[in-house]
Amino acid sequence: MVMFTAMNVLPNLFGGGGDSISSILSMVFYVIFIVFVFYGQRIQMYVMIREVEGSLYKLKYIKEEGRKITIETIKEIGKPQTDPSARVDRYLESFTISPQSMDPAGIVYKLDHIIDVRDASLKDEVKIMAPESDEVQVNNLENTLEAAMALNYIYKVVRHFYIQGKKTLSLYVIMQLQMILPLVMKEAEAYASALKAFADGQPIGDGVGPWVAAKLMHGYETRKVPKDCVVASVPIEGRTAFIIKAEGPGGNVGKPGEAVTAVIEENKGKIASVIMIDAALKLEGEPVGEVAEGIGAAIGGPGVDQFKIEESVVKYKIPLNAVIVKEDIGDAVSPLRKEIADSVDKVIERVKTVVLERTKEGDKLIIVGVGNTIGIGQ
């Protein structure tokens, strides 16, 4: 009796009541529902793992291409006697340890020293790898190698979390990785684009500051200032402007902190204003190449140069102004976009406005073009 009732009820439960197709469909639906109740999270995790895996393959491809481009460029420019691949591979795995910050007093100078040592070691390495290259090419190759190192590091970190997630089967490890992956991929693609630009010596978006400075100082006599920077004394609107930029056209950011300090000290602190020009990260929705002005030291990097500039201007109570050109991370390290090139004249106009509004005739001021001067002379 009980058996008979169940036989009658079951088909109705699965819908259709005797219609074979709807019974099958309902059965499939119930199976899927039960599977999702018990294994939903696991299925979601496998979908995420697949997604991360796809991006990881792409990162691996980009990293390998980066390595290949670096080696090819070294061979082409540096004409080494032996194959530089092993040396490149060794350098791709190198690392820098930041100074201990338990007692932060004096950490800036410790960091500065470590950055100097790293820079010198990378330059020496490039000179050994590419003996035929000149100073400009050494700088470009150094930048190319650094971009390849960044790609290698991004790949290794993503791979680490991917394997860890797979090993532990932890949804949260995989989920965190999957959530930040679009931003990581964007950065990796930007570095891939930068690599080609560095290898060819093309100006990058970050070079807008040095380009403005170069345009202001073009035709005037320049002299070298520490470290890896040039300065020119240029008359602007009845004032004397000391224009500072990293020495180009090789890939070089110089040390604007030391250069600004040197020029301020040369003039015994009698500087009416320091105006810094730099590329700045834009927020989504803001147009590329938009120019804005503000107050403070417009300079990125590890913070050493910003610290030195701030120390010098505070010592002599010099006003610090900034003019920025907005661009995203991809634009900053890839070949310079036309919109950014078109903004150079707008920046010069804005700088002149700042000069007229915030300094008096006969004053001395400093204008610093901050950024990588690759592909930009003076």
Binding site: G54, Y57, S193, P335, I340
Partner: protein, 135 residues
Amino acid sequence: MSQNSSSATAKISTYLMLIVLIVLALAIVALVSAAYMYESNMQFAVFLLATGVIAMGLSVYVMFQSRKRVAHMKIEAPKVMTTIECKKCNFKSVREFQRGDFVFKNLEPCEKCSENKLITAIYKEVKEKEKTYGV
């Protein structure tokens, strides 16, 4: 930039191809079964036909998607242009970037006025317009 696909690319397509081939085989089985069953059980034949068509459509879609992904994996080098100007006679020309070019590099004398030409800009053109999202 190299246009060759790496081993990683090949690995993805092999894995995907295996799944696509299995689904494709099942779809063909469903379609053949539908043809055999058409006269004896028409309703079930229609069900099998629909399943077969959907599975075939999905496998073809995945195959196209994977091809698209492989194409997307190539690192594309943007076209970079160099603007050359003569400051004296305002002659201006634009050509593709050549290694060794840099902004404010003096070039050979101008054909019109024999003043040295100058590279005044190096930039890349970005074709696609950014989405505004209406806000």
